[in-house]
């Protein structure tokens, strides 16, 4: 195995592929990157933690075919610190020799035979095309609402729902729910669930990937999905199981409708939560009355009262929330104003855009006692 490649090209590709390398594994080969050179002048780099596999293929010079696994961290650090010049990489028995200007490294390689072989799925299955920016936004608006408790199965994932005329992404952790929608023509209707952690990795790759390609392709089978992002290919395992019937959770009745400036509300809740953090549940109380919502919180260190102007239809209401859950939702919204719907102090609050139906958020309240 042998190739020559510019240092910055190699660094960029390694930065993407190494995202699939987990530091937490005890299996040495999973800390490695597989280098595969073919005589036609391409280098394919692959890394995998078994849940996600990332491959990138780049063009190289002086190619002699062969394959070897190198330690991701050491190889990456070496390449990153070399000067921006041609780097030659060559296998010499079990070692890999790296040369660049006045530098010469010899590092231990591992046999490619042990590297996990992630079989591709047929790429004509469930083929859909996303705009990169839209996909990134949909991930940002939902992933925070997925459970981070790895024992929780499907609710650690994001449900991707392909409908004939659109795509929905849904995440729910039992305390809040996030739904985003985009219009899209799909040939077939299909649902898959992908780990929110992996979707966040996809989002990072979308940021790092070349700006030439505006689109991302997604192929799906029953067990796996593949994202094709320019020259980068991400193969991932789907989460297995039945997603919560989220439409049943959405409240049918919305007696109280509040229109509020999102920025004003966020800033007031952020300040109020300075005194709620000390207490249980990060509790803030919202008193919705006429044209004002009064947000209060207290701890041993003191108390706070914030007022935000609203416009309201329906009755007055006192309701408690975990400040973090409300802030997470508001942070993910770009709109200047939103609608908040309420029913009773013990039923969830629904957050929706003023126009359209690009998102819906549901936040469970916290029971408040009157003292």
């Amino acid at each position: 195995m042998k190739f020559t490649c510019n240092q910055s090209v190699l660094t960029k590709a390694l930065n993407i592929v190494s995202k699939a390398v987990t530091s937490r594994t005890t299996i040495p080969i999973l800390k490695g990157i597989l280098l595969e050179v073919s005589n036609n002048g391409t280098l394919k780099m692959s890394a995998s933690d078994l849940d996600i596999t990332i491959e990138e293929t780049i063009e190289v010079e002086n190619a002699e075919s062969g394959s070897i696994v190198v330690q991701s961290k050491l190889f990456g650090d070496i390449i990153r610190k070399l000067p921006n010049a041609d780097v030659s990489v060559e296998q010499e028995e079990g070692n890999v020799i790296i040369k660049c200007m006045n530098s010469q490294f010899s590092i231990i390689g591992l046999s490619p035979d042990e590297f996990p072989n992630i079989k591709d799925i047929e790429e004509n299955q469930g083929n859909i095309v996303f705009n990169k920016t839209i996909l990134k936004e949909m991930i940002r608006k939902t992933s925070f609402a997925a459970s981070i408790d790895e024992s929780k199965g499907v609710i650690t994932g994001i449900l991707i729902e392909l409908l004939a005329d659109g795509i929905n992404m849904v995440a729910i952790d039992g305390y809040r729910m996030a739904i985003t929608r985009e219009a899209m023509i799909n040939k077939e209707e299909k649902n898959v669930i992908i780990s929110a952690k992996i979707m966040n990795e996809i989002s990072k790759i979308l940021s790092d990937a070349s700006e030439e390609d505006e689109n991302v392709k997604l192929f799906m089978s029953d067990k796996k999905a593949i994202f094709m992002i320019g020259s980068v290919k991400v193969v991932l395992r789907l989460l297995d199981g039945e997603f919560i019937k989220y439409k049943d959770v959405l409240p049918k009745d919305n007696k109280i409708k509040v229109k509020v400036n999102k920025g004003d509300l966020m800033e007031s809740i952020e300040r109020a939560s300075l005194l709620s953090k000390e207490g249980k549940n990060n509790l803030i109380k919202m008193s919705i009355k006429d044209t004002i919502v009064t947000i209060t919180s207290k701890s041993e260190e003191g108390n706070v009262k914030e007022e935000v102007i609203i416009s309201k239809e329906g009755e007055d209401l006192d309701i408690g929330f975990n400040a973090k859950y409300v802030l997470d939702v508001m942070k993910s919204i770009d709109d200047e104003e939103v609608y908040m719907y309420f029913n009773t102090p013990i039923t969830p609050c629904l957050v929706e855009p003023i126009e359209g139906e690009a998102f819906e958020y549901l936040i469970l309240p916290v029971r408040i006692t009157n003292n």
Copy 2:
């Protein structure tokens, strides 16, 4: 106590004063900031961890004299998160009421009687004036070489040596030594030792302080020193004890003189240390031969050879170093080229500028075995 002040003015002052607040104390009053308002319209804010006291005085409106201590973190977080508008602060019995637009906080205050009373020194003692940029640079070039082991007494400090025609700052931790020099006319010769940790705090305050004042004043007594940085006053305890007679440590004889490009040497050592980190002492070996220094290192993961072009007077030499110690020195030097002086594989290396005597660095070698 009562005052009104713009939020951003208050935030800036709090950011500086709170640097003296330690989170590690078990004494609640030391987590506080003392607010002292006088009827002539000034607010003095003070914080102290007993080793260092920072005071800043700002002009305020609606001043009613009085004093109270507030919790630094909570008060600072509240002020920082308020909108950029007028903030009114008022004492109501044991509480402090903070109002700004639609926000109102009430937080618990502490009695100012318990706050440490750091007596000033007379400000006409040992008065010297620094240029801010020069002081920051001298701190940067020396503080890394002081010991971080708090049990080590004076070598955790920086020696400030006032001479009739200049100022020297010196730090030494037993493995390396840093000396910086600046020309300056001083009325009296005097030595003081100030904790390197505190000098780094001074450096941060110099960065944060208003850019109007180019100069910093330093007053010294036997036990204390005061830095006056614009409206900020820093009172600190001097370290007590005899500093190492550093001139005795400097090698008299320098048989081998090497001129090297600092950037090239740094980059090569950084790469070589990728393989030395795993081993003991972060060891790199430098083989100085004719016009080339060859830097090598090895570990279980592989080995590396780097070559850097030099010009040399004197014999060839093989010598070992802890890569970190050489890198720390090179990072603190701005010059493009430096002289490195050597004698034997077991005597320290001296680093000096090509011209002038603005700095001298001494680095102890690590004994190398021939295998």
